[in-house]
């Protein structure tokens, strides 16, 4: 792929991290979703599908990792990657499970984010984080069943950029680190 093609690609990146989230992958591997994505102006779909047992077969031929739909959406599935940051930076929209790591990775890349909590997780504290950040308008929360609607109604102008720690400190975790040091009570150093 040459440079002009890359800049022209409007990518949706879907990630479930290291979890099993067949319901979301199944909702994505759907011709209705693919057509809606084209309708919204996207032309590529990249899916990190994780440890689930569902094998995509609607948008790609069963057993294959990539393909192109009749309406021209380029689709690519993969299982894991050591870092998803590049995928997120390339994307125009990120759809993610509600794991804290994935959420804050996407927010720190300043990408519009739709978060789908996994309803199968017991004591679903992931839903708590997604809901909280949705209330602060940093992202949009949805479900596997309503993912098409969430993508079509997404208004990126209404999203509020996430500022790390809500403070001006440029260093990550500086406040927590200083609390810990205070509690330890280190001797001063020259």
């Amino acid at each position: 792929m040459d440079h002009s093609e890359r800049t022209a690609s409007r990518i949706i990146f879907v990630t479930v991290g290291t979890t099993k989230f067949d319901a979301l992958i199944k909702a994505i591997d759907d011709i209705e979703f693919a057509d809606a994505a084209i309708g919204c102006g996207y032309n590529r779909l990249i899916v990190q599908r994780g440890a689930g047992s569902y094998i995509p077969h609607n948008l790609v031929k069963e057993g294959e990792d990539s393909g192109v739909t009749t309406k021209g959406l380029e689709v690519q599935f993969f299982q894991y990657a050591p870092s998803l940051r590049v995928n997120m930076l390339e994307a125009m929209l990120v759809i993610s499970h509600a794991g804290a790591g994935s959420i804050f990775e996407a927010l720190s890349c300043s990408r519009p984010l739709i978060v789908v909590p996994n309803p199968l997780l017991m004591d679903n504290h992931q839903a708590e984080l997604g809901k909280h950040l949705a209330e602060l308008k940093h992202l949009v929360c949805s479900t596997p069943e309503r993912i098409v609607e969430a993508m079509q109604t997404l208004d990126t102008s209404k999203l509020v950029p996430y500022v790390r720690s809500g403070t001006t400190s440029e260093k990550a975790a500086a406040g927590i680190v200083s609390e810990i040091s205070k509690a330890v009570g280190f001797a001063p150093r020259e």
């Binding site: 790390r164 720690s165 975790a173 927590i176 680190v177 280190f186």
Partner: protein, 256 residues
């Protein structure tokens, strides 16, 4: 002395030895001795206490601390490693990491990070970590899980006890001055082992708890246990709203 049943009072009988001036003087001398010994004991104790306090103040101001880092699965490990990355490694040294024995991924993350630090040390011109001393200033330990998902409660009594005993052995071996935890199941036996250790060995071992960023409304079970037993020296939460619900918890920004 006899008890008068009808009157319900004690009467002093005549057969008691009348006051002998010699024995009264001796008794007074004894009382004087006892009082002065008592006062001296108090003085000595106060002095000892002051010295002890001054001494322990010195103990409380270390230059560096042996740090025990408890890792858990997935998100817990990612958050904890993010915290470790932000720490001054020349002060939090040496470091010991604990993982559940079935969790190979977390152990690899810790060793990858530590190996990266030692590699940096080896590259000339890069920031060095030579101040920390020794070729290997970190270690990785495994302890059994207290409860696997779906395990019955009867067998989990035994596995919890086993995990606690392993945690005890670990804490005794490592002798940490600081324990960093953020809530995976493995952290509770380790925390209680650390508490027992600091009571029995009178060792200044501090427990720092950082609640997961995923908790916005209520503390996790581990967080609640440490909050209500008051055994954590520091309990940080990552959301202001959550801190407002728990007065002894501290909000000091987030890891992300």
């Amino acid at each position: 002395m006899k008890f008068n049943v009808e009157a319900g009072t004690f009467n002093i009988d005549d057969d008691i030895v009348p006051d002998d001036p010699e024995s009264v003087r001796a008794a007074n001398a004894w009382i004087g001795w006892i009082i002065s010994i008592f006062i001296m004991t108090i003085v000595v104790e106060v002095i000892a206490l002051v010295i002890l306090l001054k001494f322990s103040k010195k103990l409380e101001k270390p230059d560096s601390v042996k740090t025990l880092v408890v890792l858990g699965s997935g998100g817990h490990t990612a958050e904890m490693m993010r915290l470790v990355e932000s720490l001054d490694k020349t002060r939090y040294t040496p470091r010991a990491y604990v993982v559940a024995e079935t969790d190979k991924m977390s152990g690899r993350k810790a060793s990858d990070y530590e190996n990266m630090l030692s590699d940096m040390k080896a590259i000339p011109g890069k920031r060095t970590f030579s101040e920390v001393g020794g070729s290997k200033n970190w270690e990785l330990f495994e302890i059994p899980r207290s409860r696997e998902v779906g395990q019955s409660y009867v067998t989990s009594i035994w596995t919890t006890l086993r995990a606690f005993l392993h945690a005890l052995a670990l804490v005794w071996q490592v002798a940490p001055q600081v324990v960093l935890v953020n809530g995976p199941g493995t952290c509770i036996p380790v925390c209680f082992a650390a508490v027992l250790y600091r009571l029995v060995a009178a060792y200044p071992c501090k427990i720092m708890y950082i609640e997961s960023i995923a908790r916005t409304q209520r503390l996790s079970l581990s967080g609640k246990i440490l909050y209500h037993t008051r055994i954590a020296d520091l309990l940080c939460v990552q959301w202001k709203e959550l801190g407002a619900k728990y007065p002894r918890a501290k909000f000091a920004g987030r890891l992300y």
